[in-house]
């Protein structure tokens, strides 16, 4: 019989966590370490001691599964109840769902991409601490992919625009904006991905990219999406702490890492900020009941919290606010208006609808953008009002030129002049490339060999790779059906909404033994 150990020193929580996760690692001796981890050298990042990684959270597999299973049980109960009670009829208005169409088409596939690439980090980072944190995030991202699909699946049964979101993410012009953004991160090295997604996307910009959709849901009667948002919150806070730990770890490991990380922050701030252009117009124009203006969100979540908070802390490491941030600040008064005006005119080729902002919406815009709306954008809508009166809703029949980096149509204006379209030109291997801003041009010129590879939807249409030469050919290739896009008023969604509400007024609930 074994003799009972004498006065055992019980493990602290931290020691226990380390014994259960990090201590699982060993130094290989039958093969070279550099062969086991072949991808952590080429970016130039120097890590001297992986054990200095501070675990951003201490969650063991048993605790994780119990906690997550409990959360999913509650979430799916809400989804089922909402579906059974025809909860979609209690939304503010069917047009609200345009925000969710954009979300399912543009954001959900990114969650999946994150799932796959965090699995890559969970294999290919040399340290066991960050590998385990990445593995948790990888399966969290699978959760978000699936809970988003399941949350929005019920709307797909009743409304247009949702039904072909996967193929559309790979093909449609405005969706190449988020797709190329994430492809850019996936094709970078593991450390750049950590800064691009772990830090910039999940921390720096999450309140501008992800959260506005959830807040919009709660203001517009979308109980399932709001519940999903709350349910994802504790996952997201783990992801944020991972992103923050990642950047601190890289900066503390070697001073030579600082300029590399700074350049990645500069790149990924602008890259992510350009994706928020789609969110900006959603907040200001797509939500029937507004949460806050883009300008207010930008000031609070970016200028105050990030520039005023985070970057003060990062200054300690010699990190400065991202390059071109002043252009983003200058744009906050004009961004959403310019983007929506473009989408309004191209929505016949989109899987969401747009509509003329009514008097109430315009007065809200005018109150929230006192410096710009009345002067610059109201005149456009006044002109469109006259078109509408004459029975001619305006759609652009041509194809826009796209920025080689962010892939948004060239609609942005010069930082100091909101009436002149900004166009930048660069040359690479004898060819000319257009970018929409100093930020995108700087990104292009840093890695032209990467950005010349971009699959630009408009070029591809011209080259005959998108179903055929005419607009109907391309729309068929996009899988866009009658009622998915175009004008909201008079659309299939609007007609259904009216009919179902009419029916609801006559319904009654009775109970009989």
């Amino acid at each position: 019989m074994t003799i009972a150990p004498k006065a055992p020193r019980k493990l602290t929580m931290k020691q226990r966590y380390e014994a259960l996760t990090r201590d699982l690692d060993w130094e290989p001796s039958y093969v070279e370490t550099s062969e086991v981890f072949p991808y952590t050298e080429f970016e130039g990042i120097k890590i001297h001691d992986w054990s200095k990684w501070e675990d951003p959270f201490r969650l063991t597999v048993d605790a994780y599964t119990k906690y997550q299973a409990e959360k999913d049980k509650r979430l799916y109960a809400v989804l089922d109840g909402f579906a059974q009670s025809q909860g979609h009829l209690s939304l503010t208005e069917a047009s609200y769902l345009n925000a969710m169409k954009l979300f399912l088409q543009g954001v959900t596939p990114l969650e999946y991409q994150a799932h796959r690439n965090f699995a890559y980090l969970a294999r290919h980072l040399n340290g066991p601490g960050p590998r385990f944190a990445a593995l948790c995030q990888s399966i969290d991202e699978m959760r978000h992919t699936q809970t988003e699909i399941h949350t929005l699946s019920n709307y797909n049964k009743y409304y247009g625009g949702f039904h072909n979101y996967l193929e559309q993410h790979d093909r449609v012009w405005y969706l190449s904006v988020p797709k190329s953004f994430f492809d850019d991160a996936l094709t970078a090295g593991p450390f750049e991905f950590l800064i691009a997604i772990g830090f910039s996307f999940e921390y720096l910009l999450t309140n501008l990219l992800f959260v506005p959709f959830m807040s919009g849901a709660s203001f517009n009667g979308d109980l399932p999406t709001m519940t999903f948002g709350f349910s994802a919150q504790s996952d997201e806070s783990r992801h944020m702490t991972l992103g923050l730990e990642a950047i601190k770890f890289l900066l503390e490991q070697d001073e030579a890492n600082v300029p590399i990380v700074q350049a990645w922050i500069d790149k990924w701030f602008w890259r992510g900020y350009r994706v928020t252009a789609l969110v900006a117009q959603m907040l200001d124009y797509m939500l029937p009941r507004k949460v806050m203006s883009w300008k207010e969100a930008f000031e609070l979540y970016f200028e105050e919290q990030m520039l005023g908070g985070l970057f003060q802390d990062l200054a300690f490491y010699g990190i400065t606010p991202p390059k071109h941030v002043e252009h983003a600040i200058a744009e906050k008064e004009v961004l959403s208006h310019q983007v929506y005006w473009t989408l309004y005119q191209f929505s016949h080729a989109a899987a969401f609808t747009t509509t003329f902002p009514d008097a109430e919406a315009q007065s809200w815009l005018s109150d929230n953008y006192p410096g710009t709306f009345d002067k610059l954008y109201k005149p456009l809508w006044d002109k469109e009002a006259r078109n509408l009166e004459a029975g001619g809703r305006h759609f652009v029949r041509g194809l826009p030129q796209l920025c080689q980096v962010c892939q948004i149509p060239m609609l942005f204006t010069e930082p100091d002049d909101p009436t002149t379209i900004c166009q930048r030109h660069s040359e690479y291997r004898g060819e000319k490339f257009q970018t929409c801003s100093d930020g995108c041009q700087w990104i292009f010129e840093r890695e032209p060999e990467k950005y010349v590879q971009a699959w630009l939807p408009v070029h591809q249409i011209y080259q005959g790779n998108c179903g055929g030469p005419t607009v109907p050919d391309v729309l068929a290739w996009y899988g866009i059906q009658e009622g998915d896009g175009g004008e909201y008023k008079g659309s299939l969604d609007a007609a259904h909404w009216a009919r179902w509400h009419d029916a609801a007024d006559h319904s009654h609930i009775g109970s009989e033994a």
Partner: protein, 334 residues
Amino acid sequence: MQYELRTQVIDPPRKTFDHLVKRYGDRPASRYEEGTIDIQAKENFHYRPLWDPEHEIYDEAFSAFRLTDPYSFTDPRQYYYAPYVTSRAAMADAVAATLDYLDSRDLLSRLPDAWSSVMGELLVPLRHYESGAQMVSCDIARFGFGTTITQCAAYAAFDRIGNAQALSRVGIALGGGTAELLGDAKTRWVEDASLQGLRRLVEELFLEKDWGKALVRLDVADRLVYSLFFAHLDDAAIDGGAGSYSLVAQHLSSWFADHRKWVDALYKAWVADPETGAANKGLLASSTAEALDAALEALRPVAARVDELVGAGAGASLESTATTIRETVAALTD
């Protein structure tokens, strides 16, 4: 009798998403299907990976094993995230109940010495094997082709770290609530002659770039390891008066039975493919044979050490599992 609750019924214009209608016809889809089928991006990738410009972001050329339609394979357990974590939460509860029981009755310190050595010297070091299996599974989750496959691999990776943690908790319990025995177990994993073959096998597996082959190689090693430690020795322990070994082993053995369901289903999908089936058969036969030779070489010293300690016929059991593996793969690929 039941009461009749009247609710508003609206006939939905659509039953599910287009890609599922195309594949399965116009019927409502399950949550597994909506959350899994066709999710991996298919076309128009914008850039090539800086770290591997020969490949697309998702590329079937990451393995010699191919499916004409990757979604001809589906997980027989139909795990998407919610049922997966629910199932694992129940497993974790069961493991915790066992550990509490072992602790409350002080059962691990009452093990016969030889069985205590089997646990400390050989079973607890397997946490490093599990940790290696996690890394291999993560590679499959990233480089595999098609969400049905990679989703299984990602959950398997998480399972493996869970197994490693469960074995570590056994080690902590066996060490009287300290990490001392875990420290010893790690030294054994790195130094003990009996374990070096297995460690070498895992390290060499890290270098396997073909995710399909990595999956087969890991599976073959798993079948030998699990059959030896969690089936054969489970029985032998009960006979040898080491019931607490069996209490631990049951959890890993039931996890493994659940895990192998998808691996087996994938093998079947590989060999049944109307276009790539013949090539897959050849690959599966040759990869299994090669992997089996290597895994047997790695595990024979482990079995020999078990037999030195408890004389449980471990060596013979190992060879008999190998025969079973040969027979099943022959039945699949002939």
